[in-house]
Symmetry: C2
DNA sequence: GACCGTAAAAGAACCCTGTTCATTTACGAG
DNA sequence: CTCGTAAATGAACAGGGTTCTTTTACGGTC
């Protein structure tokens, strides 16, 4: 089961069992020296990293695991990526790049914010193990993320928000988004109190929520995200009104 | 440099240079076998772990580092702690235990929530490196955290919130708190766009905020937390009113 | 009081990381 | 044709967590 019919070639059959997952490519059997055809690229490495995270969890982002998956020795990766930290940052960019911002061009600021937040969270939610991995990382400079921020800030400023308030608002909203993504990544029954008699109100509320969710078929994390997002936007609109803001002339 | 001049003495003076930080205790020089006086305890290990995280960052929570700090071989730790994962969970409990909840006994639900959220965030903020480490961890069952939840839920239910809504609301607020703590842990200039000409609105807003913060002397993350918290509470109060809720009779 | 199971330490290994280095080979420009 | 450079292998290294054996001390029992 573990030794997959090694080809009886006379050459040294190295690079055989580096990881415990069977490599999809049967046996690259590359000999030493620069290969005729390019084997790796930064892009390929990052995408393989993301795929392995999805398939095997956060544990799958190891240099050796990625190398093994690509049929390559670990040291080969360092010709394209500086190290593991940069690799993870690259994967983050890969995901961030998919967050849509087109709603800011067509919808009013508050509706656009709601759509953006939802899409933002869902994009990370599509790769649960990455959330804990990526949420804690500082943003790389010169990142595409800055362009996403540009779109958001620009829309808010056009709606009348002072630049400083717009930035603060966006950061607050993003904090909620990332926190919600973490909550989503955690197990559903994470805060199940279990059969305890010392936390009656908590236990009762938990059971009650379980009933509601079973009836509606939704996820607990989704309900919390929707409630929080709704409350945040209500608060933002109140602030908008209290400041007497109006959309700028264009 | 790597082979540290082993002393030619006949006596085995081991446990000398395990880490690169000088241990505060000069040299325990303990010989093999069970010591006369207890050296370790679960509590001592956890507190040392927290202290090392504070002093050296998230990197300081290694088993070998803690052992070295305590003047002990790494394997000795396993007599008191199952492994690193349990250790980190223990440190989390250590911190969570300090989150105050007394405001729920004396203040109305919305003011209490605000005070709790602020204290919650500040408690984690007192140990910045821990945030990324602990925020991603699932809660241990039977944890003291459940009692904190009990207090919060109980107060909300007494205020008239249905149990299910109370729980959802608390999870939403906690998501915001943890997200804000992550934001706080990140570097202050984390999303500095730098001298880029392709993100004008973002750059302008960033510069404007820098001016405001310089004048007020506050931190960026604090402003975002306060704005978001205020907005959330406004939204929660609106929901409370829309549902026609009233405090329960006691 | 001698005995014995158990607790708690040292110490030595094991395996798995990320990373670096020397080596080998191919490509591409002058 | 030659030479510098890019891109792979292969062999290390340092440093993690963890486990296993050994040694010693404690605490209860006949």
């Amino acid at each position: 089961m573990s030794t997959p019919a090694k080809t009886p070639a006379p050459g040294p059959e190295t690079a055989e069992r580096t990881g415990q997952h069977a490599p999809p490519v049967p046996a690259p059997k590359r000999r030493v020296g620069r290969p005729t055809k390019r084997v790796l690229s930064r892009r390929l490495i990052l995408e393989t990293g993301l795929r392995l995270i999805d398939e095997r969890g956060a544990h799958g982002v190891g240099m050796r695991a990625i190398a093994s998956e690509l049929g390559v020795r670990p040291s080969a990766l360092y010709n394209h990526v500086a190290g593991q930290a940069e690799l993870i940052a690259g994967v983050r960019e890969l995901i961030s790049d998919r967050i849509a911002t087109d709603m800011f061009a067509s919808e009013p600021w508050d509706a656009a914010l709601a759509g953006w937040a939802t899409h933002y969270r869902n994009t990370f939610a599509a790769h649960p193990p990455t959330i804990a991995l990526l949420a804690t990382l500082p943003l790389a400079e010169e990142s595409v993320t800055s362009q996403m921020y540009e779109t958001v800030i620009d829309a808010l400023v056009r709606a009348g928000w002072p630049g400083e308030r717009a930035l603060t608002l966006m950061v607050a909203l993003e904090s909620f988004i990332l926190g919600s993504a973490l909550d989503l990544a955690a197990d559903d029954g994470m805060l199940d109190p279990g059969p305890r008699r010392d936390v009656p109100a908590f236990s009762a509320a938990y059971a009650e929520r379980a009933g509601v969710l079973a009836a509606s078929g939704g996820r607990a994390a989704d309900a919390a995200f929707e409630l929080g997002l709704r409350a945040l936007l209500t608060g933002f609109r109140a602030e908008y009104a209290a400041l007497g803001l109006r959309p700028r002339e264009r």
